[in-house]
Symmetry: C3
Subunit: 367 residues, 3 copies
C-alpha cells in the first residue's frame, strides 16, 4: 500500500454505532450483509466477498491466523466479549473523525459520544430526519405545529449534518418544490390520523428542505441497502429535479453508497455544484473487489466531491474493513495511475487527502 | 487454468436443445448472437467477441488451427455434418448434468432425452410455462378449467424446474398477489377470445405461482435476449414486489442471464432468501471478456446463490464456449484472489464446487 | 501503443467546433467537463480524470513538461493565443475526416469548413435538427408549411447526417409512429403560439423521421451530458420502440456517448440492424480510465457497429485528448486480447480499421 494512503487521516462521514452486546453466529451473519436472515436455501454468508474479507483481515486483529475458519473466528470473538472486540477493531480502524447517524436502533448501539470515548476520535452527530419527525409526533405535536417544531429542533441541534432515508420510505423521486407550511400541516394531519412511520412524500421533502434551510448538509441513502427498499426507486438519478431545485442554496447534498448506480452518482456530482458522493457500505461488501468499484466511481466525479464513509453498522469488524478496504482500493487506484505515468506523486498525495479528509472537512465545516 | 476448475463437475442448470440439422453461413450467424439477422449495414457477426471465441476455441475441436477464418471454419463444419459437430462439441463441453428448457422450437432441436443419449450426461427437463399454457389451450381447455388443468399437468410433470418468459410477454413488473381462480378464469377467457400467444400478466403470474406452489424452482429470463423483448422491462429489480411476496414459500427463483443488470441481480440474491442468479448466455457472448463480467456478478452475491448455465441454444459451439469461457472466467476470478492473498486454495475449491455443481444440486433437489 | 493503432486513420463522426477566442481560467474550466460552473463547494475541475489528462498530455503539446500545474498550463495557453493553441492540438489530433455538428453556439466556434481549413482534414456537416426547425420558424414559416419546409431544407442539404437532441428536449422515449402531416401542423401551431425552443415530442419525432426518409443517418445524444437533461430520460433503451419501428428503413441510427448506459447501447447495436454506437465525450472525461470503459462498450457490440467520435466542443484540447485516449484505450483492448491469445494481429488490424474508419465510411457513405 502507498505509505501516504496507509497513513491517510480519515473522516468517516457516515457510520452508525457499534453493538454493545455479544452476538451468536446467527446474529453475526444477520448483520454482516444486507440480508436479514441466513437462507436455508443457500449456505453460510461467510461464503461471500465480505465473509472472505472478515476471515482474512479481521481474524489477525483477534490474534488468529488469516483465513481462520468461521467457527474459530466466532469462538474467539465470543471469548473476548463485545467490549474488547469493539475496542480492537475501532483501534485498528484508526479514524480521525466520525460522523454518526445514531437514529437506527439506538438502544442497541454505542452513540456518537460513546464512540468517541472508546476510540479517542473526534465524533459528531448526524441527525436522522425521519426519526426526528417521529419523535416530534410521539411527543404530542399537533399537525399545525409540526413544521415549526421540526425547525426549532433543527435550529437547536448540534448535529453537523442530517440524514434522510427517503429511499426507504417514499423513494427518491422527490418533487422539487419546497412544500408550504399549509401542505406540511395537511400531510402531518394525515400522518397523525394514520399513525405508523414517517412515510409521506410531502413530509420527507419538508424535512430535507428544513435541514438545507438550516444549512445542514443532507445525506441521502441511495442504492444498495436491505430489502425494505425497492432498489429501482433508489437510483440517484431520480433525485435530478430535486437537485436542480436545491443547487442554488449552496448546501451540500451527500449521496451515500450508490451501488450499483455509482456511475450515475458520479455524474450528478460532476454536473450539480452541491452534490458529493461516496461508496459507503459497498466497499466492505464487495471485499477484495473494492478496487474496481472505486475506480468506476472515480471515473467522472471531481476529486473534490468524493468522500470516504464506512456506513458501518453494528459489527465492529465493519469499521475496520470499511477503512482497510477503502485504503487498499484508493492505493491501488493511485498507484496504478502513477505506474502508467498518468499521475505524479504530489498530485496523488493531494487527491488522497481531499478524498480521505479535506472534502468532508470543507463540506461539513468541521473546524 | 486452475486444475480444480478445469476438472470442475458442472450442472448446466439452463440450456436449450442443439439443432438437428446443418446450417449455412446465414443460418449460423443468425443463431450465433441475439441478432436475428446479419445486417447489410454492418459486417459479419464473426466480427464480435463471440465470433473471435468461435474461431479461437471451436476451430481446434474440428481439427482446424485456432483462429481459422470464418470461411474455413464453416466449410469444415459443413463437411463434418451436424451429428458429428454436435457430438464433438458436447463431448468437449463435458457437462455432468443438463437441465433443458425444450419449449422453444422443439421440432428443430434435440430434446433433453436425446441430449443425454448423445452426451452420456444426466439430463432433466425444465417445463416452459408459457408453452404448457398454450398446449393446454390448444388442446381445447375451457376458461373455467384452465387453472386446474395447468395444475394437473404440473403435478404430473417429471420436470425439476419451470421456466417463465414473462420478460418477453408481459415484462418483469409482475404484481405480487397470487391470482384467484376467478381472476385466472376471466383472464383465460379473454385469451381464448383473442387467441395468439400467452401474453397476459394475470396468466403469467398464475403460471409462476402454480409452479412455486408445486415446489418447482422457477427460472425467469432476465436482461439480455433478442429484440422481441424490451430490455428496459427486463431489469430484475422490477421483480422486487413479486420476490417479496414469494420469499416465504421457500422455493428457489432463478434469475437467468441478467446482463447488463447482473449487479442488480446479485443484490436480489443477497437480500432475498430464495433468489439465485447466473450469467447464462452473457458468458459466451462477451467472449474473452467474461472474466470481468463474472467478477462484477460475484461482487455481492453469496457464493451459495450463484449457478452455472450456458443458455446454449441451437449451435453446439455454444455448449462448448459456455463451459470453457465460464471455467476460464471462474479460474481467473479465483486465481486472482489467491494471488493477492484474499483467498486460500481450500476455500477456492469449495466455492468453485458450490457454483459449478452444489448450488444447483441443492436448489433443484437433483438427488 | 500498437503501431497500427498509433497510425490508425480516423473519422471523428461527431464533434462540434473549436472556440475562436481565448478563455480565462473560469471559462476553461466551464467548458472542460459537463459542469457548467466551478463549484465553490468543491475544488478546481483540474482535480478530475480529465484535468489530470490535460496536464499530462496537453502540456507537452504546448512545450511544457507533462503534469505542469494548471496555473502554468493556462498561462502558457494564454500567451500562445487561441489560434496557435487550436492549430497545435488539431495538428496533434491528426484526424482524417471530421463530421461536425455546428448547431450549438455557432457564433463562438469554427464551423466545419473552417475546421477543414485549419487542419487540412476532410470535413462534413451534420445538420442539427432542432436548430433547423428553429430556423424555419424564425424565418416565418406557418404551422401548415412547417413539414414541407423542413423536408425541403433537408433535401437541399449537403450534410452527411443529422443530429437530434431529443434527450434534452423531450427525452428518448419517442413514440414509434411516423407522425402524419396533420399532426405535425397541429404541433407546429402549438409551438408557434407558445414560442421558445423546439421541445415537442411530435415535432422531434417528425424531424427524425424526415431525416431518415431523406436517408440521412441520425445521431442521437444519449446518456452523459450536462445538467440540462435528465439522465434517467437518456437511457438508450427508451428508444427501443422507435428503433423497432425504423429498423426496416435501412438507415443508420447512431447512439452517441451512452455512458453510463454503454452496455445497453451495445445491446441495441447487436439486436437492431441499423444501430451504431460510440463513446463520444466519455473517452476524454474518464481520462486514464478510458480502457476499461471502452472494453465494457465492446463486450457485445458487433465490431462493425462501433465508431470513433470525440464529441469535442470548444476547447482544442478535447480533440487531441479524444483521439489520444481513444487510441490508447483501443490499443490496450487489442493488445490485451492478443497477449492472452484471444486475437491474432491480422484480426486486430482489421477490427481497428473498422472502428476507426471503415464503419463511419460505410454508414455515412463518405465516398
Amino acid at each position: 500500500m502507498l505509505p501516504f494512503v496507509a497513513d491517510l487521516r480519515l473522516v468517516d462521514h457516515h457510520c452508525h454505532g457499534v453493538l454493545r452486546a455479544d452476538v451468536d453466529r446467527t446474529g453475526f451473519e444477520e448483520v454482516l450483509t444486507e440480508a436479514d436472515q441466513v437462507s436455508p436455501l443457500g449456505t453460510t454468508l461467510f461464503d461471500s466477498s465480505i465473509g472472505l474479507a472478515v476471515r482474512r483481515w479481521c481474524a489477525p486483529v483477534l490474534d488468529l491466523d488469516p483465513h481462520a475458519s468461521a467457527e474459530d473466528y466466532l469462538a474467539r470473538r465470543r471469548s473476548l466479549g463485545a467490549a474488547e472486540v469493539n475496542r480492537a477493531f475501532l483501534a485498528a480502524a484508526d479514524v480521525d473523525t466520525y460522523l454518526v447517524d445514531g437514529g437506527l436502533s439506538p438502544e442497541l448501539l454505542l452513540d456518537y459520544r460513546e464512540l468517541a470515548a472508546v476510540t479517542g476520535a473526534r465524533s459528531f452527530e448526524v441527525v436522522r430526519l425521519e426519526r426526528l419527525a417521529e419523535e416530534v409526533v410521539t411527543e404530542g405535536c399537533t399537525a399545525a405545529g409540526f413544521a415549526s417544531e421540526v425547525r426549532a429542533r433543527l435550529a437547536a441541534s448540534t448535529a453537523v449534518g442530517a440524514k434522510s432515508i427517503a429511499a426507504y420510505r417514499v423513494g427518491l423521486a422527490l418533487r422539487p418544490e419546497r412544500p408550504s407550511d399549509a401542505e406540511v400541516a395537511e400531510a402531518a394531519g394525515r400522518w397523525l390520523a394514520r399513525g405508523g412511520r414517517c412515510a409521506d412524500e410531502v413530509l420527507t421533502r419538508f424535512l430535507v428542505w428544513a435541514a438545507l434551510d438550516r444549512r445542514l448538509p443532507v445525506q441521502f441513502h441511495v442504492g444498495y441497502g436491505d430489502s425494505d427498499a425497492d432498489l429501482h426507486r433508489c437510483d440517484p438519478l431520480l433525485l435530478t429535479d430535486f437537485l436542480r431545485a436545491t443547487a442554488g442554496l449552496g448546501v451540500p447534498v451527500m449521496l451515500l453508497h450508490n451501488y450499483p448506480f455509482h456511475r450515475n452518482a458520479g455524474y450528478l456530482a460532476q454536473v450539480f455544484p452541491h452534490v458529493f458522493v461516496d461508496l459507503g457500505l459497498t466497499t466492505h461488501n464487495v471485499g477484495h473487489q473494492a478496487g474496481r468499484v472505486l475506480a468506476e466511481a472515480l471515473e467522472i466525479v471531481p476529486f473534490g466531491k468524493f468522500l470516504f464513509s464506512s456506513d458501518a453498522y453494528g459489527l465492529a469488524e465493519l469499521y475496520h474493513l470499511g477503512v482497510l478496504l477503502f485504503r487498499r482500493a484508493l492505493s491501488d487506484f493511485l498507484a496504478s495511475a502513477m505506474a502508467s505515468g498518468d499521475l505524479v506523486e504530489a498530485d496523488a498525495v493531494r487527491i488522497a487527502h481531499l478524498i480521505g479528509y479535506e472534502n468532508a472537512r470543507r463540506a461539513y465545516r468541521l473546524d
